[in-house]
């Protein structure tokens, strides 16, 4: 990946020098060896800050929203998940394709920071669970690709819904208690929402208490209303990047809800992989006359 870092810097530098974009969004090193963080580079000389390593987990796609009304183009580096996220933003008409320069990357899977901190430098750090499960590690939609567009990570045969299914098999009370335990500790900091590429509303209903939908009170009921509503809002548009879960300061397994819905959409309305096709019809933006009938 070090070699690619150099290519990445060179690419970014060229883009800025040639004026192909006003800014390049990539990653730079954070405070610790196991942390890489988003970097916003607009001067060619600053491209030296850019890196590409196994800690570039941060999904950069959503940052593009900050620059959608700015003049000129923004270049962005995308892994597979970032790429799917970007596609969802395009599908949701939040970005204009012609205003973005997409540089694709082949992702080897990102290493788990929490594990890294625990295990220490030099030990073998496992990949994030979401990366182990990832089936689209490479950028899907790009203007050019750095390195070879060749999958360099082991691809599981299918999505893993085992955790969802394990939960499903519990009794109603057991299930409920699990969710209460999870959402009791929710701080409603909205990190999950703010990092989520599918959460791209101009103004979220949870930011408008006057709308009557939500209150700021923190309790299990309100927290679960938030969680379930968000899950429904991103239904059919969640690309499974798992950033919500990574962003959560209290370690709530948020993807349990999203994956459940992905599983059900697949089973009920046919296989659908969000963000893999910009032209696809959103599952909850339509219907089929032949949809399963359970309400007779």
């Amino acid at each position: 990946m070090e070699d690619l870092t150099l290519v990445l810097r060179r690419t970014a530098k060229e883009i800025l020098e040639k004026g192909e974009a006003q800014m390049v969004i990539g990653w730079e090193k954070g405070a610790f060896w196991y942390s890489s963080t988003s970097a916003f580079i607009s001067k060619p000389e600053d491209t030296e800050r850019l890196i590409w390593d196994e800690y570039c987990v941060n999904n950069l796609a959503k940052y593009l929203l900050d620059y959608r009304h700015k003049e000129g183009k923004v270049a962005v580096f995308v892994k597979g998940c970032d790429s799917r996220a970007l596609n969802v933003l395009l599908q949701d008409k939040q970005l204009k394709r012609e205003k973005i320069l997409i540089i694709g990357l082949a992702c080897p899977g990102m290493k788990d920071e929490v594990e890294a901190r625990k295990l220490g430098r030099g030990s073998s750090i496992p990949l994030y669970k979401k990366c182990r499960e990832c089936r689209y590690p490479n950028a899907l939609n790009y203007d050019f690709f750095i390195g070879e567009d060749k999958v360099i990570k082991e691809i599981p045969a299918q999505d893993d819904f085992s955790e969802v299914q394990a939960l499903e098999s519990l009794s109603p009370d057991e299930k409920y208690n699990k969710f209460v335990a999870n959402y009791e500790r929710c701080l409603r900091c909205y990190a999950c929402r703010n990092i989520c590429p599918a959460c791209n509303c101009r103004e979220c209903i949870f930011d408008r208490t006057a709308s009557g939908w939500s209150s700021k009170a923190n309790n299990v009921s309100e927290n679960m209303f938030f969680a379930l509503t968000r899950a429904l809002h991103v239904a059919g548009r969640c690309v499974g990047c798992g950033e919500c879960e990574r962003a959560c300061p209290v370690n709530i397994p948020i993807m349990l809800l999203n994956k459940k819905i992905i599983q059900d959409i697949n089973a009920l309305f046919g296989e659908y992989e969000a963000g893999t096709d910009v032209t696809a019809k959103l599952p909850l933006g339509g219907f089929e006359f032949t949809d399963p009938e359970e309400f007779m």
Binding site: H69, Q94, C201, R202, E203, R208, S211, K281
Partner: protein, 660 residues
């Protein structure tokens, strides 16, 4: 703070005998916003409404809740009432404490009273959030479309045209006339069907305000009341209508013979044809499926013989889009295809026919020139058996409903047989004889008494061929004994069913239909010719089985509605539509895909964001197209869309109130 008045209606004893109305009224005073509350015997009565108006004045009420019957019954009444009191008509809400309470919880007065309080509480919670709504106006295009050129369509078109409005009739067959053109005589007067129909057909064809679009179908309907943009497909006739004189030479010379649909396959027509001699327009079409030229590229005789040079093999389907203010749907009915069930040997024994076949057999211009001859050997039948309710009133094999006209046309058929074949015997198997209608029962009695038709109450269990005759076996349930009749001809009164394409057309028009695909009227009693889609009206048997006088009456009624609409240059629209909060809308377009009326599109707005002018897209609702279903509001994640009068906040307020 809003000032709500609550008016609890006893509806005589309908509500009052179960729900403790005075207690409900008293309790209502505790609900937030309520400053006045009262109960009264009949809120909808003149004094009741006066009471509301007076209370609005005296107690400075700005919102009103009426706890009484279903809003589907009296919402308009009370809207007008509060309007009369100087309030916006949308400042009233109804709590349905009759249909949803007293009538269904008659044995539980205490629980019913408690529920009534809840319902009032919900209505109060909603009404304080009601906003004044104003009806808007939309232009009305002074042109009507009638779909279907049968007697109902023709009548509707004539009435509309006579009132001075332009009408287009779209008919899928090459000629107008519909089923009535196939019928020989009409009951109970026995006047000749053609004699009364053809003049109307001619009148329609020659009316300056009527355009006939035969051999045409409705392809697409867009728009809304007053402004329907309808795309009509004019199927290629292969005959230039402007040039053709209707001389008929081509039809004489055409070498290709095909079963005639009009004669129900009992005779032949040519590949270039008019469905029947009195067809209007009386100009032929080429049936491309069967035409030798179209199938092999050879022949071309019609073109060669046509003195006017009207035959045009290169014609293509043509699409035209016109704007109409109103639409009358009069696509009629079809007969139940009993061969599918195969009972009674229909489809197997040639001498088991339907009533419509019989009409052709008895018709002077029909395949037998009016002589009743049975199809198998063209012999005159002596014993004729009629079986009624074939497919009607038979939920197991056919339709659950009564086809309404069969009792009378069977009686008519019996009369006609007896008149034409003096030594014939008539046996009519029936379940019931239903003859409501002017002169109908008298006609039936004549059939029995004067013409000697034998009415046998009971069902036929089996029909089988024995030699040249058909053995009809059944039971006379009145005498409680089996019956067996040797018949020469069996006529089945098969059920009237909806046209096969009725469902698709309904979807294009956005109107409802029932399980049998008959179109649903807006109200079975009070809006029998309207549909739920404003500006679309129903005439004739597409709404349900009907005889001719009923179809004509309904057609005239629909025409009256159309004239009422078209007589105005603009009309008021319902203000209950979706609205967009542009500052919140992110322009994702989810709602655009979801709107069944294509009432939402994305538009570009420019806006100052932090000192910079930016352009962005937002959803925009066309209030004329929007019908107020609210499906878009759910698709809108950020709740930028809201449905007026049924806002998120109003519904949530009701939910909250219910849970207090």
């Amino acid at each position: 703070m809003k000032r709500v008045g609550v008016f609890v209606c006893h509806c005589g004893t309908n509500i009052g005998a179960v729900v403790d109305c005075p207690q409900v009224a008293e309790k209502a005073m505790d609900f937030p916003g309520v400053v006045y509350s009262v109960d009264y015997k009949y809120m909808c009565s003149e004094p009741g409404q006066e009471m509301i108006k007076k209370a609005v004045q005296e107690h400075r009420l700005d919102r009103v809740v009426v706890a009484s019957c279903s809003p589907r019954m009296h919402e308009r009444t009370f809207q007008r009432c509060v309007e009369g009191a100087g309030l916006n008509s949308y400042f009233v809400e109804m709590a349905n404490i009759r249909e949803h309470c007293s009538w269904v919880h008659a044995g539980e007065p205490e629980k019913a009273t408690e529920k009534a309080m809840d319902l009032v509480k919900m209505a109060v919670a909603k009404v304080v959030k009601n906003k004044p709504l104003q009806k808007a106006t939309i232009p009305v295009t002074d042109r009507a479309l009638v779909i279907g050129g049968g007697i109902a369509g023709i009548q509707a078109a004539l009435d509309i045209a006579n009132a001075g409005h332009v009408v287009d009739i779209v008919e899928k067959e090459p000629s107008i006339g519909g089923k009535m053109a196939q019928i020989d005589k009409t009951f109970p007067t026995l006047d000749c069907s053609a004699c009364i129909l053809t003049p109307k057909m001619v009148e329609a064809a020659s009316h300056p305000n009527i355009n006939l679009l035969t051999y045409s179908e409705v392809e697409k309907v867009e728009g809304f009341v007053g402004n329907f943009d309808v795309t009509i497909k004019k199927k290629a006739r292969s005959v230039n209508m402007d040039v053709c004189t209707g001389c008929g030479l081509c039809m004489e010379k055409c070498p290709k013979k095909v079963d005639s649909e009009f004669e129900l396959k009992m005779s032949k027509r040519r590949a270039i044809y008019t469905p029947f001699p009195q067809a209007i327009p009386n100009k032929p079409v080429i049936d491309r499926e069967n035409c030798t030229y179209f199938n092999t590229g050879k022949c071309g005789i019609c073109s060669k013989v046509c003195p006017a040079g009207a035959v045009d093999y290169t014609q293509e389907d043509e699409y035209l889009t016109r704007r109409y203010g109103a639409i009358v749907v009069a696509i009629g009915f079809e007969l139940f295809d009993y061969s599918v069930i195969g009972e009674y040997g229909y489809g197997k024994y040639p001498d088991v026919i339907t009533g419509l076949h019989f009409e052709r057999l008895v018709n002077a211009s029909g395949p037998t020139l009016g002589k009743i001859k049975r199809p198998s050997d063209h012999k005159e039948p002596k014993n004729v058996v009629f079986i009624k309710c074939v497919g009607s009133r038979d939920p197991a094999k056919g339709k659950s409903y009564c086809s309404k006209a069969c009792c009378m046309y069977t009686a008519k058929h019996a009369t006609l047989v007896r008149e034409k074949i003096k030594d014939s015997n008539i046996y009519i198997f029936y379940m019931d004889v239903r003859t409501p209608g002017k002169g109908y029962d008298e006609f039936y009695n004549r059939t029995r008494e004067q013409y000697g038709a034998n009415y046998i109450r009971g069902r036929v269990s089996k029909i089988y061929q024995q030699g040249e005759r058909l053995i009809v076996r059944g039971e006379d349930t009145l005498l409680g004994r089996p019956v067996e009749i040797e018949a020469d001809l069996v006529v089945l009164a098969t059920a009237m069913v909806a046209q096969p394409g009725a469902g698709q057309l309904a979807q294009k028009l956005g109107i409802g239909y029932d399980k049998d695909h008959f179109y649903t009227e807006a109200h079975p009693k009070l809006a029998p010719v309207e549909t739920h889609t404003q500006g679309v009206y129903l005439a004739g048997a597409c709404q349900g089985p009907k005889d001719i006088p009923e179809s004509v009456a309904q057609a005239s009624a629909a025409a009256a509605k159309v004239c009422g609409l078209l007589s105005k240059r603009e009309m008021l629209t319902e203000p209950i539509v979706s609205e967009v909060n542009e500052s919140i809308c992110a322009g994702c377009g989810m709602c655009v895909a979801i709107c069944p009326y294509k009432a939402i599109e994305l538009k570009t707005i420019s806006e100052r964001i932090q000192g910079q002018t930016v352009e962005r897209q937002v959803a925009s609702v066309n209030g004329g197209l929007c019908q107020g279903c609210g499906a878009c509001t759910v698709a809108c994640r950020s709740a930028a869309l809201n449905l007026k009068h049924f806002t998120d906040q109003q519904i949530l307020a009701e939910v909250n109130a219910l849970c207090l």
